[in-house]
Symmetry: C2
Subunit: 313 residues, 2 copies
């Protein structure tokens, strides 16, 4: 009864891995396509778990999934990627099938939890993890505990309004951090400026990627540079807010857009210094990149199950 099975559910792949106590290297690992839009996602998930299962030797299952979801009841509320999972009690379904307790939280919270337990955030009592990619998500450690909240929907850091007249966010509201600083927000800004007549080496293209814009910026394209500068400017406002709210000792950036490096982070740091409520928040504040990469979801699910078994969640 010593293994933990961790599951990471993504839009393209489902991964399952088994871990011995104290180790973060899996003794078994299985990856399968999720085919999220096709019925039978749960069956494919069960098969992935079966592929690594050791009957009688597993203590618990941890699950990382896109949200919104309720970690307290282990229920996925409605995740845009997997239409058949509306109000889907995934934790109790897995417990029913495999006979061990199962613990669920969303991928951003668990990537943050993983960074805290095993990665860049080790040893910090107050940590803010921010992932910047298609969306902007957060994972927060307060007083050595994962912030989940009453409905389990806390730390939705990307959906903080920083300008009520700002761009439309994917969620339908205006001026959220995500509507300024996510990958699609950066691409949308470039397309809008191109349509308004700005000159650039880039062409209007609905499929423009943040990586293409970064490439153009590194070659000196002024519009591409300004698109990242704008994302960094608003990110600085957002992070100044997170500092006033959480006062962490470490801020960790994950997600593909953070790969842009100085293009994003130089303007971000200048903006943060201008907007921070009090300079004392910056004293001894570590600002760094995520250490765990693609395994963050699995490792977060592992950490969640371990903490729950130890009564520390």
């Amino acid at each position: 009864m010593s293994l933990i099975v961790a599951i990471d559910i993504g839009g393209t792949h489902i991964r399952a891995a088994a871990y011995t106590p104290e180790s973060t290297r899996p003794i078994a690992h299985h990856k399968t396509r999720s085919l999220a839009q096709t019925p039978g996602v749960f069956d494919r998930l069960v098969e992935a778990v079966e592929a690594i299962w050791q009957e009688g030797n597993v203590a618990a299952i941890g699950i990382a999934s896109p949200g919104p979801l309720d970690p307290h009841s282990g229920t996925i509320l409605d995740t845009p990627n997997i239409p058949e999972w509306a109000n889907f009690p995934i934790a109790s379904k897995l417990t029913e099938r495999f006979g061990v307790p199962a613990y669920l939280d969303n991928d951003a919270n668990l990537a943050g939890l993983a960074e805290w337990q095993f990665g860049a955030g080790k040893g910090h009592s107050d940590m803010v993890y921010l992932t910047i990619s298609t969306g902007v998500g957060g994972g927060v450690i307060c007083n050595n505990r994962l912030l989940q909240g009453y409905h389990g929907m806390g730390a939705e850091l990307g959906h903080m309004t920083i300008d009520p007249n700002g761009p439309l966010c994917g969620c339908g509201h205006r001026g959220h951090v995500e509507s300024f600083s996510s990958g699609p927000a950066i691409a949308r800004y470039v397309n809008e400026r191109l349509q308004a007549g700005d000159t650039s080496t880039l062409q209007p293209d609905p499929n423009l990627t943040p990586a293409q814009i970064a490439e153009a910026a590194l070659k000196g394209d002024a519009l591409a540079i300004s698109a990242y500068a704008r994302a960094g400017e608003y990110l600085g406002i957002a992070v100044a807010n997170y500092l006033a709210i959480f006062d962490p000792s470490i801020l960790i950036f994950g997600g593909g857009v953070s790969q842009a490096g100085d293009l994003l982070f130089k303007p971000f740091e200048a903006s943060l210094r201008r907007h921070v409520f009090h300079p004392h928040y910056l004293d001894n504040l570590t600002i760094t990149r995520a250490a765990l990469g693609d395994d963050a979801g699995l490792l977060g699910a592992l950490a969640l199950a371990r903490l729950a078994l130890n009564g520390k969640k």
Copy 2:
């Protein structure tokens, strides 16, 4: 060694009170003028404590003070009200004088802590307390613990930017919650609209108070009504952010401006419903007024010292 002495330091008065275990009714109480701008504030504080001191029978001292301050080291960094207290190690000074441990935090955090331990927030694991008066301050309970942060400067909820082009805040930044929804922000808006030519029963007046504006609003003055509506609109945006960030089960309003009642809270509630990231945050969310009134600071200092003695802070 069973008593706790609680101290509440305000701009006009210093209060000290002694409490037996388990009770929130003081067995002794002393109030003196702080004369905050006049040297000797610490001596007056010591005299107030001496007036209620029972030698050999006090276990700890709790202190509520305006910030910014560092609760971890018990140091007041610089409080605008008391110029002689810059980097003033008040907790160790009191320990030196009285021979017992002393614990410090800011008045908003401690009013929140008091509401959680003794007032409207009892029994809630995740709570947001917001005081709206001359400033906007916060006190947050996350996972049954007071959010203090690494430098002890967390939960500065009034200094969250919600519009980077918004009005100037008292702190020098733009578009903070406090710059829209505090008492002075409401009065400034009225004065600006009067100077711009709006008609009203109110006259331009730098000393205009939120209470006078509320009185005019209750008599039907359109400008006065719109000033509270605007404060409530932005308060709704701010609270939608706090819900996405903390996902509390209760939201408690304190401070003089909250006395305006429906003038502020009707527009606030409409705005909150429009801006909340996901309607699930509102399910079973309690929104209520503070229960403790003027004693919140003293009771928060009491709670802080009790929790610290029990190792639960």
